[in-house]
Symmetry: C2
Subunit: 181 residues, 2 copies
């Protein structure tokens, strides 16, 4: 079922994403073109306090035109290890450090047109500290009980893929349910 | 926390996505630029048989360079109602029709750079029929018990955001757990 790449043309190389058009040969020999957004990959962190609260942030997103609830997250720097990126982004965006880190999963956010891969971590043993945001970031940090965050998914108030995946996986892990499905 | 859009420049208008650069004014008065991918939005369908199996498809994705496990899905046509799109895509990609449809949630796949919104539906009361694929699609359909699909998420074999969100929400709904968090 693989497609063979015939040509690859870059239309844009940006600060965060690149855009290319691939001409491909389909398994049956016909040709098609594919619009592909290249992204360096990113991390997201479900940070849980000892009381079972989760660290959520609220920030405005120009792409969606909305303030959104999200878990702390950020994109990988060149050759950066995902776990180091997660430690860095949690501290920069929220001020928190954690003494226990666990990889949850990695997934593609939108494989139909983008290669962005998202690495999710669970962080525990939190200690509060000071934010150090990038010059173009404005982020508010909140602590919410995990059950309340799950309610917000149900009510459509949390509308970000990595946040929904992270919270649902953390809830399954807390319930001991992920092992048995 | 809103950003004010100063200018908007389109660099690409494609078959599926557009790319634009927005110049924005930050809340503190400084300026920044945002790379934004416009997408028409899409639907995904968790289709469950009476025996508790879920309909999954496997298809090659040029963006990720991998064959991927996904729920049936597709992008919205111009002015198409999401539910009608879901009915259409389930039939086209898998041949199945369903007599009970339920909206699960809508979410943004990657709000940092894209406005793609994904509408998720739960479909039950399935009847098998014939696929009718687009000329550039090659899709294999599988029936898997839901617990096995959840295991595949845990093992990193299912790596697509909409599929992970859809299966985890369906599992919570089956467990009756979504209401109480």
């Amino acid at each position: 079922m693989r497609e063979k790449t015939l040509t690859r043309e870059y239309l844009f190389r940006g600060r965060i994403i690149n855009l290319r058009i691939d001409r491909v040969e389909l398994p049956d020999g016909r040709e098609a073109s594919r619009e592909v957004v290249e992204h360096p990959g990113a991390v997201g962190i479900v940070a849980l306090t000892a009381k079972g609260e989760v660290v959520l942030i609220k920030q405005y997103r120009q792409a969606t035109g909305e303030e959104m609830w999200e878990i702390p997250a950020g994109k990988l720097e060149a050759r950066e290890d995902p776990r180091e990126c997660a430690v860095r982004e949690l501290a920069e965006e929220t001020g928190y450090t954690a003494n226990h880190w666990e990889k949850m999963t990695s997934f593609y956010t939108s494989p139909g047109f983008a290669n962005e891969i998202l690495h999710l971590y669970l962080a525990r043993g939190l200690e509060a500290g000071e934010q150090s945001l990038d010059p173009d970031e404005a982020i508010c940090t909140y602590l919410l009980p995990l059950p309340r965050a799950l309610e917000m998914i149900k009510r459509g108030e949390i509308r970000d893929a990595k946040t929904i995946v992270g919270l649902l996986l953390a809830a399954r892990s807390e319930d001991g349910g992920m092992g048995e499905g």
